[in-house]
Every structure is written in structure tokens, then in C-alpha cells.
């Protein structure tokens, strides 16, 4: 009852304040000049990224260095998580010992197989069409990370590790992605451009589809990095709690 009264008071306050604000608040109908510049120049114009999608062209071209450093933050956060849960070689071998036995009815397993294949296709499509439709490397990678999570939930993590995708491999794929981003960012320096600049040496079109120069490379590499990074984290999180307590020698 006490909580309900608090909620009602809060709702009345919000409504009252917004009614009061209505008189001197006009909804914005125009965008800032900077936004207008990006809309006009993302495909046509002199400072063009050759991408019909304005958001991707800002993320990887106009404000590319911004995204490069945000990717560095992402890299450090995942490294920090892996460091907190670090295991010695024997321990990580021991953590892999287990039998993949799904205890769920058979239809669940079959449906999961179909859905995992679909998730892989859809996430790749999100990442590869990042310069044409809403989406890109980040979103595609986040969608990709759902597939191993689903396998872990249905078939346990041992099934994933027996089929070759263990923590080390995931970290390697992620490092390849991040290294690729760094190298692609350095390529424009060879032609007297600036760091991460979208130069004409990157392909503009392939098979009649606009690629947006370097945007498509960044999207693919970011897709790999984000997807594999989250996969490594999920693999670590799915180690049984009993086993982890044994590693830590917690007596409590």
C-alpha cells in the first residue's frame, strides 16, 4: 500500500510537471545543421562516405576515430572480465571435462539446430548490409552471440567445446577482428590520407551493390570481434559454480 501511494504521487508529479512545461516547450521540428550535413553528404556530395545509410557512415567514417577508441574500451572490458575469471591450464582443461547430454525433449534440440542456422544467416546479413540498411558490425555481432548462448542452454557448453569452439578459439577470432580493424584504419596512411579516412582505394561497389568503401570491411571485422568476444564470455559464465568454487578453494 505504501509503495502504491508513492507510485501515485510520482505519476501525479510527472504529469503535473509535464503539463506545466507544455506552455514553454515546443517540440523540435528541425534538426541541427551538423545532422543536415551528414544527411546531405552520406551518399552524394564532396565529403561522401558513399553509403546510403547515414548512421554507418558517421560511425565508421566521419567519426571513425571515436568508434576506434570505443572499440578499444570494449576490448579492455572483455579482457578485464576474462582476467577476473582466469584459470590455470590444468583448471581450464578440467573445466572442459563433461558429457554433452541434452536433458530436454528431442524437438527442442532439432528446433535449436534450425534456429541457430537462421541466427547465423540473419546476423551475417545484418553485418554485411550495414551500409545499406539499419544494422552493422555491432548489431550483427550481438545477434551472432545469441547462437552459442542458445547452444549452451540446450546442449550444454561441452557440446560447443567438443565441436571446436572453445574459449581460446573465440579469443583468437576476436583478436583477428580487432587486429583487422586496426590494420584497415592504418591503410589510408599509405596513400597520404589520414588515419581511418575513407579513401577511393577501397572498393565503392561490388556486383552493383554499394559497399561504402572501407565501411564494409570495418563492419565484417567488428562483427567477428563482437560475436566472438561475447561467446568467450558466455563460455566462461557457463562453467558450473561447484567447479569454480573448487578452483578458488572457497571453504565457506
Amino acid at each position: 500500500m505504501k509503495r502504491l501511494i508513492g507510485l501515485i504521487i510520482l505519476l501525479i508529479t510527472v504529469l503535473g510537471v509535464s503539463c506545466y512545461l507544455t506552455q514553454n516547450l515546443t517540440p523540435q521540428t528541425n534538426i541541427h545543421p551538423l545532422g543536415k550535413f551528414y544527411l546531405q553528404n552520406s551518399y552524394f556530395g564532396q565529403y561522401s562516405a558513399k553509403s546510403p545509410e547515414a548512421v554507418t557512415s558517421i560511425v565508421w567514417d566521419y567519426r571513425g576515430v571515436d568508434t576506434l577508441f570505443e572499440t578499444a574500451v570494449f576490448f579492455l572490458a572483455i579482457i578485464g572480465s576474462l582476467t577476473l575469471f582466469r584459470l590455470s591450464k590444468e583448471q581450464s582443461e578440467e573445466a572442459k571435462q563433461g558429457e554433452p547430454k541434452p536433458e530436454l525433449p528431442q524437438p527442442v534440440g532439432t528446433v535449436t539446430k534450425v534456429i541457430v542456422a537462421m541466427i547465423l544467416a540473419v546476423s551475417a546479413s545484418i553485418a554485411l548490409h550495414g551500409q545499406l540498411t539499419p544494422g552493422g558490425g555491432f548489431q550483427g555481432g550481438s545477434a551472432l552471440a545469441v547462437a552459442p548462448l542458445l547452444i549452451i542452454a540446450v546442449y550444454t557448453k561441452y557440446a560447443l567445446e567438443k565441436n571446436g569452439l572453445d574459449k581460446t578459439r573465440a579469443i583468437i577470432i576476436r583478436s583477428i577482428g580487432l587486429l583487422g580493424i586496426a590494420l584497415t584504419a592504418l591503410v589510408p596512411l599509405l596513400t597520404k590520407g589520414y588515419l581511418m579516412q575513407n579513401q577511393p582505394l577501397f572498393p565503392e561497389k561490388a556486383l552493383g551493390v554499394p559497399l561504402g568503401g572501407s565501411l564494409v570491411f570495418y563492419n565484417i571485422l567488428e562483427y567477428l570481434a563482437v560475436g566472438a568476444g561475447f561467446t568467450a564470455v558466455f563460455l566462461l559464465l557457463s562453467i558450473p559454480e561447484k567447479r569454480f568454487k573448487k578452483f578458488l578453494e572457497v571453504k565457506r
Binding site: L39, F44, I58, V73, G80, V226, E241, L248
Partner: protein, 134 residues
């Protein structure tokens, strides 16, 4: 009518922001603190996206509909601001990664101390340090 809906949106987002800050400060449980933190981050992101919105009737996403110059003028007139969306896009993934880091730290704290209450964790730390000295 549109003006009042607009102001209700803004004020309720600000109220959510204040409530989540209260949650971060007042809740003793670390998981509840993390939940409040994620709500805070998501609300901040929605506010940033709202900065680039325009209240007109045919409002379009910032994606060029056709690859022809004739469509450009109408596109600039109706599309929303792409810049806040681009900033939020990276902020969401970074937020997710940082939340994972905090979640890992909380799990480790629970394994070592056996509790998630910050007050009890604060009491336990000195005893653990003393045990190491003996």
C-alpha cells in the same frame, strides 16, 4: 496534444533517471545496484536519441530511400538526425561490455565473500585481511 505528449516523454525519462540514481545509491544489494545502473544507462541513451528526433508527421529513418539525387531533398526534409543514433549505437555495445565486467566482479565477490550486501562485504574485508597476516 503533441506538445503535451512530448513533454510527458521528456519528464518521465528524467524521472526514470532520478529513480535509477536513487536505486544505485540506496539499494544495498550489488545486483540491484547493477540493475539500476543498466536502467540509468538505457535512459540516458533514449534521451540522446530523443535529441535528434523531429516531431513532424512523415518522419523517416536516416537511410537514403533511392540512390538518386531527386530523393535527396525530401530525405533531408523528413529524416531524423543520424548523429545521436550513431553515438548511442557505440554507447550501447560499450555499456553492455562494461556491464559484463561489473557482473563478473559481482559473481566473484559472491564466491569469495558469500554475500552480496555491501555492508556485510565491508565488514568482511578487514577480517579477511587479518587472516592473511596470521
Amino acid at each position: 496534444m503533441i506538445a503535451i505528449l512530448w513533454s510527458i516523454t521528456i519528464v518521465s525519462l528524467l524521472a526514470t533517471l532520478i529513480l535509477s540514481v536513487y536505486g544505485i545509491i540506496a539499494k544495498p544489494n550489488l545486483v540491484k545496484k547493477l540493475i539500476a545502473l543498466t536502467i540509468f544507462g538505457d535512459t540516458a541513451n533514449v534521451i540522446v536519441v530523443l535529441l535528434g528526433y523531429r516531431v513532424i508527421y512523415p518522419v523517416k529513418p536516416p537511410i537514403l530511400p533511392h540512390l538518386s539525387k531527386t530523393a535527396l531533398e525530401e530525405f533531408v526534409r523528413t529524416a531524423v538526425d543520424p548523429l545521436p543514433q550513431a553515438l548511442v549505437l557505440t554507447a550501447v555495445v560499450i555499456g553492455m561490455a562494461v556491464n559484463i565486467l561489473i557482473a563478473f566482479a559481482i559473481i566473484q565477490i559472491y564466491r569469495i565473500y558469500g554475500t552480496l550486501d555491501v555492508r556485510e562485504v565491508g565488514k568482511l574485508i578487514p577480517t579477511l585481511l587479518r587472516r592473511d597476516k596470521e
